[in-house]
Amino acid sequence: MSLYIDVPARAQSPASPTYPPEAFIHLRPDGTIVIQVNRLEFGQGVQTALPMILAEELDADWSQVVGELAPAADVYKDPIYQLQMTGGSISVPHSFQQYRELGAKMRAMLVAAAAEQWRATPAQCRTENSVVYGPANVSARYADLANDAARRSVPGEVRLKTPSEFRLIGTPVRRLDSRAKCDGSLKFGIDVDLPGLKVALVARPPVYGGRVKRLNDREARAVAGVRDVFEVPVMRGATGIAVVADTFWMAKQARDRLSIEWDLSGVEHPDTSQMLTRYRELSRTTGNVAVNRGDATALDRIPAANRIVADFSFPYLAHTPMEPLNTTIRFDGDHAEAWVPSQFQTMDQIAIAEVLGLEPHQVTFHTEYAGGGFGRRTPLDSHVQREAAAIAKRMRGTPVKVVWTREDDVQGGYYRPMFVHHVEVGIDARGMPMAWRHVVVGQSHIIGTGPPWEGALVKNGVDELVVEGTADSRYAIPNFHVSAHQPTINVPVAQWRSVGMTHNAFVMETLIDELAVRAGIDPIAYRLALLRPDARKLRNPLTLLDEKTKRWRFSVPRDHAVGIACNEYHETGVACAVEVSIENARPRIRRATVTADVGMAINPLTLEAQFQGGIVYGLSQLVEGGAITFSDGRVDQRNFDGHTPPYMQDAPVEMDVHIVPSTEPPTACGECPVPVISPAVVNALFRLTGKRYRALPLTRL
């Protein structure tokens, strides 16, 4: 998810709140060190990365470290945004300094406690593997010093290690949660069980904003195990019917037997083919201007033979994390307890409290492990939580787990919006783009949401997230005009892993490739020539990519081709080369080489995993079936059969990931690889078929 406000991660203001180490570190008598992670773990590895950072400065015995997902509380808010949230790939960049300080402060307190016991000075002590060593061979375990240390005041300033002193950071440390995820013991939100727990499913209107007109629940109530059936508000002023039963299956059988007549009047019925027509018309006109650099009329003076005109279209995309949406809440009247695999604890807690008529602090909010997120678990309206709270309110005293079926998930909205682009490029004598006019058409999920995001992200009527990847392009194009139309459509939309980059990077990187081909220049060399001199974060990975692929990318077999793409996202630059053939009318990615400049690599093993994973996630845009479409207001797809994700055969057979060596502070990771794979693959496909693929997803080649 990207809600990135342009504040460099390094800029920690002196007035930022202090974080008491005891809220983050628990030193158990048995030597275990439990570290509270102020984020959601949904695969990205933060429950290992943040403890690593803390354990480094603490000089902890890593084998004794356990990570826990912190509940909702002020102290666990993101130090820069002051919201407890996971998204925008900010977790490590924003909490890097914070967790280092926490570890260093605790270490200082332990050393001070030991020094006092030994009547030594802290300077005479050193620490290693959860032990303080003093002069003359004395030593003490952290576990034994814990109580004493806790009584001391927290130091204001601490010395942090220099990178050369790192023992953990920068090393390939394995995840802490692996074993439990391999033996079925780790519980996700959907696995939560409580005494007396009931399960609820909700029948939601087939068109967003619809309302229940008439309900016949006789058959549903006759299903064994059904406890109650009642109307609830669902998102966007719509209403639905909740079915509460003893188990999921009973609730599902009952819901399937509801006979609901819906009032679908008064709301727009989105229709993909109508929208495409409307969007294409809009894309031929100037929208709200995001960038107007140089001479907007320069393009008109370039002869048609030296121009490229291109239209692109991208469908709605669902996120489909493997664990379907769920929330468990028990409402007791003056208090509530919630178990949520939440990407946005602060807002979710507020939303639940609002519906229940409580103050946020009256909602005990547990953060559960999540089976993926990709942006789906943090829509700004907390609609999943609001709905669940309404059900919990009705079922007062009983804990209720609201579960979304996969069908609910695929059809439930909050998609990556549909987009259409119209681009005209004027080419100079060297084959470089000298004029570029670009119109983006698609929904904004920020406009209309008010503070804090709207004020931060919307400028001159353009939502930055709609044009990111184009407006902020690092290519040196002297006459550059970017505008956007952001229609209001009755489809809820949200951020999808790498957000605006998903479509903008595709357009940019395929057009750049087309220009490179026209100019007869190698695609990596072309990019290096066209990039602005200060585009360091892209130059580095491109140069590394050239080095790492020299051996093979000029000598692939005749029915294979190579495609290149690059992208910069939140100060991380990524470049990618793929070797592709066509098998069974589909692209077969034999190999992918990915390079990245992420600043300091906290954990190369996790980074590699995130890059491998992000590349595969990016392929969701390409695979046949990778689209959500509407007919007369209804989503055409139901489940994975209609909205198909990449399977193993769609993924690169081999992938190598290389990180540009760096000691700069760490920048984003999780979303960064997603935008590069689709353009890289279609750039390769062009060399095999002679066709430019500008409407995603691909169909049979």
Binding site: F640, D641, Y647
Partner: protein
């Protein structure tokens, strides 16, 4: 002619076949045989039958005969591949509560028994007739063997009681009942297994 009743009891299919079945060749004219074959062909090319008589590495699904989703493949035995067999989902009887069809020994017909081409286009009546009667391809069945296959093979019987999909609506069935299908087969066999040209 005899009718046929299929009773699903627990996990077994029990077939009760009323009397009938004289198998003397020449009891039906060539014209009658060809007409009967067209009836047989109309069943064989119905989705409930032809979806598993593909020429490709995959079965088909649904009335629109799309390639079976989820990367289900034929495998060397027609029963799927190690760790991802037909039996991963298909049991010995229909699972109506989850919308999965089932019959004993659920698997694909061998490639020699394909009734479609590599582009999933159904073969002509003549081509299917020749394939079905070619003893080098049809598991060495003669007329009597084919009739028995149509009468008793569980996967054939399944086509006429194919269960319900996930939306609880019944799957479409071939244009003949099982009894009519057997009767048409018998007529065709008695006529000497004539095939239309081409």
């Amino acid at each position: 002619m005899s009718g046929c009743q299929c009773l699903l009891i627990g996990g077994c299919a029990t077939i009760v076949v009323a009397a009938g079945g004289r198998m003397t060749a020449g009891q039906a004219s060539r014209a009658e045989g060809l007409a009967a074959w067209q009836q047989v062909y109309s069943v064989l090319t119905h989705p409930r039958c032809i979806n598993c008589h593909t020429a490709t590495a995959y079965p088909q699904q649904g009335d629109d005969r799309h390639p079976h989703r989820f990367n289900v493949v034929r495998g060397e035995t027609g029963m799927g591949v190690p760790a991802f067999t037909c039996a991963a989902c298909h049991q010995r009887v229909n699972a109506d509560s989850t919308g999965v069809p089932g019959a004993p020994g659920w698997h694909l017909a061998p490639l020699s028994m394909q009734w479609q081409d590599m582009r999933d286009q159904i073969m002509s009546s003549g081509a299917v007739c020749r394939a079905v009667t070619d003893r080098s391809k049809n598991d060495n069945l003669d007329g009597a063997g084919l009739l028995k296959h149509h009468e008793e093979e569980p996967l054939v019987l399944w086509a006429f009681q194919p269960g319900r999909g996930l939306d609880r609506s019944p799957r479409s069935v071939p244009p003949l009942t099982h009894g009519e299908f057997v009767a048409a087969t018998r007529t065709w066999v008695e006529a000497g297994l004539p095939c239309p040209a081409p």
